[in-house]
């Protein structure tokens, strides 16, 4: 099967007509290259949508159907340019050629109408048209053939291996899931037919044995003993069958538990150490958090202290000084004034003699108190006149509204503050010391924490402290499971041994009392069916092993293509078949010892090698299928991804890879020895962060020649 083309019209970010968005593909490695967010993954979406009517939503990590995605399928630009009341559609056309030279064109269309309010109403489903090329014209195929044609292009059971995104690889070939590879083997083979072969022979053997026993019983001389023995045999055979099944189950359980336990084995020592350190870390973290709380409280209190502990006065020093000086001046002047006033004071009350009398004395130029003359211009007249001034002076009494007590109170407060100022200084400095002390303690504890984290095996990156505990718990749990299963297996073994002996004894007894006339074919049938069962089981084992061997060989060929360019990978892949007929992949060295500690890139390569081995099991599939992948190397180092592309080119007739590798000419030099098909470079008019609802967003493709 060769995918010859993919054409898009107004599909997601690919606004514009089919002609503008046509991708042609040929044999070899076809590449669609683009920066992250350029819209290249939408090509993968287009492939998927046209065949399966689903879109992968990476944020929700799931496929959603057209009925959910609806008009989001249509390019914003096309929707923007569409007039109200008009319709707009998204279309994808895939053209593929089979190995028998049949060419199919698969077209899927989704249409929506723009309403008066600017919103879009689309139907819940898309329209699928499949056409087959007949010499020069296209013949439309009836819908009942759609499924089988799509299955011809991409067989449904291989779909997940042929179409994947880089982020799916891990789950696609989950090596921890012991049945993952066995499922692949079932896909690759008629192994299920051999299961039914075993089923037939098992049932046949049981029936033949019963028929023989029944014949023995009916021909027996002692019919009641024979029927007792027969009944007992039926019961014991059932018990035996049940024990065997139980033992099989326990074996499987033991294997699963041991597998899970062994997977954890390398992590156990680390986990123990982590658990110990986790305790210390917890304590240190407790101390840090308590110190930090104190520290925060102290810092928070600083602003309160400005008021409650009057720290704000630290900045009022000059004002206080000024106030003190002014007050001293005021006090001095008050004092002087009072003093001058005291000097002038007359022994007489202020209103004696009365001013009217004084004025009379002045005009009469005589003192009416002592009778002496007081002519104008004499000192006597002047003294009498002063008595009038004394009254005016009395009116000027400076202490009538005395502010002095208030100011003096203020002054005392100021003095107190002046004293306190010295205390504030020491208060602040002691607070500051306490804060620095706390900070130093926190720093020290953080250092302790850091050194503990550095001691943590697995590094500081894995700060999940509970993981150590949980690994140990899991390890112990699986170990217990394995032990329990082991005990059960031994119990079953003992029971099976006893039951077999009992059945044999009863069988012999029954044969002993059997009379003549047991049909020979019944005896032969029982023996033959039993042998058939052995052979059927053996056949299944051999077929299974054969497929595993083929797969291992194929995967190793691919794996060595992949690793030819890097020296950092040693070892080969080995697929180990277990007693329970499952298959476990391992990396082994040349001596067959399991290599532990493979890095992520290495593991991804193994998984890809297995996926590619499944797809290129040529003797099995009538078609050579293309591998269509989106960012398959997203979790790989560069030297590993080169190996992947080399293996793709060498092993697949066609592959189509959407990638952000090879963005520049220099990078594309790495492709020069490979069998390359078409290469397209995708460019977007807007960066990924500004692409939401862009009416003018345009994605263009450019054909690149290497």
């Amino acid at each position: 099967m060769i995918v010859e083309g993919l054409q898009l019209k107004n599909f997601q970010c690919y606004a514009g007509e089919i002609e503008e968005n046509t991708f042609r593909f040929t044999r070899g490695l076809n590449l669609i290259i683009g920066e992250n967010g350029s819209g290249k993954s939408k090509i993968w979406d287009a492939f998927y949508w046209v065949l399966y009517d689903e879109i992968f939503q990476s944020d929700q990590r799931e496929f959603v159907r057209t009925s959910v995605y609806k008009e989001q399928l249509i390019a914003d630009k096309a929707k923007y340019e569409c007039d109200r009341g008009e319709s707009v559609d998204a279309k994808v056309i895939l053209t593929a050629r089979t190995s028998t030279n049949k060419v199919y064109k698969v077209t899927r269309v989704y249409k929506a109408t723009k309403m008066e309010d600017g919103s879009f109403v689309g139907s819940d489903r898309s329209n699928l048209i499949i056409e087959e090329k007949k010499s020069t014209r296209w013949e439309t195929l009836t819908p009942d053939r759609h499924e089988s044609i799509i299955d011809t292009i991409i067989p449904s059971h291989l779909r997940k291996y042929m179409w994947f995104q880089g982020e799916h690889i891990n789950q696609l070939m989950d090596l921890r899931d012991k049945s993952a590879l066995s499922n692949v083997i079932e896909l690759l083979s008629d192994i299920k037919t051999y299961n039914s072969l075993i089923e037939i022979t098992k049932n046949g053997s049981r029936d033949a044995t019963r028929a023989l026993q029944s014949a023995r019983r009916s021909s027996s001389q002692d019919s009641s003993k024979a029927s007792d023995l027969d009944r007992s045999l039926i019961v014991n055979n059932d018990l035996l069958a049940r024990r065997v099944t139980q033992q099989d189950k326990s074996k499987q359980e033991r294997q699963t538990a041991e597998g899970l336990r062994d997977d954890l084995l390398i992590q156990v020592d680390t986990a123990r150490e982590r658990r110990g350190l986790a305790g210390e870390l917890k304590q240190v973290e407790g101390e840090i958090s308590s110190l930090s709380r104190d520290f925060d409280l102290k810092i928070e209190a600083i602003s309160k202290n400005l008021i409650t502990r009057q720290w704000v006065l630290m900045h009022c020093e000059s004002s206080l000084k000024k106030f003190e000086d002014r007050y001293s001046e005021f006090d001095r002047r008050c004092h002087d004034y009072k003093k001058s006033f005291d000097n002038d004071v007359s022994p007489l009350p202020v209103d004696i003699p009365r001013p009217v009398d004084i004025r009379q004395m002045l005009s009469a130029e005589v003192c009416m108190v002592c009778g002496r003359d007081a002519k104008q211009g004499t000192s006597e007249h002047h003294h009498i006149a002063e008595l009038l001034n004394r009254i005016d002076k009395a009116k000027e009494e400076p202490f009538l509204n005395d502010t002095q007590p208030y100011l003096s109170g203020l002054y005392r407060t100021t003095l107190e503050h002046a004293i306190k100022r010295k205390e504030i200084r020491s208060d602040i400095s002691s607070e500051y010391e306490a804060i620095s002390d706390l900070r130093a303690k926190i720093d020290r504890k953080n250092q302790d924490k850091k050194s503990l984290l550095n001691q943590l095996p697995g590094g500081v990156d894995q700060q999940d402290l509970s993981s150590g505990e949980s690994i140990l718990n899991q390890f112990n749990m699986h170990d217990r499971r394995a032990q329990d299963a082991e005990r059960e297996i031994r119990e079953c073994e003992e029971a099976i041994k006893n039951l077999r002996a009992l059945i044999a004894k009863e069988g012999e007894e029954l044969a002993g009392i059997a009379g003549a006339g047991i049909p020979l074919e019944k005896i032969v049938a029982a023996e033959v069916w039993e042998k058939l069962l052995d052979v059927a089981e053996d056949a299944r084992r051999r077929v299974f092993q054969g497929i595993v061997d083929d797969l291992e060989l194929r995967a190793n060929e691919i794996f060595s293509d992949m690793t030819a360019r890097t020296n950092s990978i040693t070892g080969r892949l080995r697929l180990e078949v277990t007693a329970a007929n499952t298959c476990i992949p391992k990396i082994v060295d040349s001596a067959g010892n399991t290599l532990a500690g493979s890095n992520d890139s290495n593991i991804i390569l193994i998984k890809l090698a297995l996926i590619m081995a499944v797809l290129t099991a040529k003797q099995k599939w009538s078609e050579n299928y293309a591998l269509i992948a989106d960012a398959p190397t997203s979790k790989m180092a560069e030297n590993y991804s080169d190996g992947f592309y080399a293996a793709l080119s060498a092993n697949f007739e066609q592959s189509i890879v959407v990638t952000y590798d090879f963005l520049d000419d220099e990078g594309r030099q790495r492709l020069k020895d490979l069998h390359i098909g078409e290469v397209y470079l995708i460019k977007s008019s807007h960066g990924s962060e500004e692409r939401e609802s862009r009416h003018d967003l345009k994605v263009t493709r450019e054909r690149v020649t290497l």
Partner: protein, 83 residues
């Protein structure tokens, strides 16, 4: 249940191959009775053939067992005739 038509030759080949290699592994333990019993015309090989035909013709399980039993019976009759 047998649900898929597969090549009779393929089944037979694998079954016979399985039996032969199994016999090789335990050849020392085979009694002369057993060897005669499972000779090419003996009931065991006849039964294998019956199974292979049933598989290739897509018979159901009951039909397959019936066919095997028939083959065993036929070959047993043949053995008695020889006697």
């Amino acid at each position: 249940m047998i649900s898929k038509k597969i090549d009779r030759k393929e089944v037979l080949a694998v079954l016979l191959d399985a039996e032969i290699s199994r016999r090789e592994l335990s050849s020392n333990n085979l009694s002369s009775d057993a060897i005669q019993f499972s000779s090419k015309d003996g009931p065991f090989f006849q039964a294998l053939k019956g199974l292979a035909i049933a598989m290739s013709e897509g018979d159901g399980e009951r039909a397959a067992r019936k066919r095997v039993n028939q083959k065993i019976e036929d070959s047993v009759k043949g053995m008695s005739d020889d006697c």
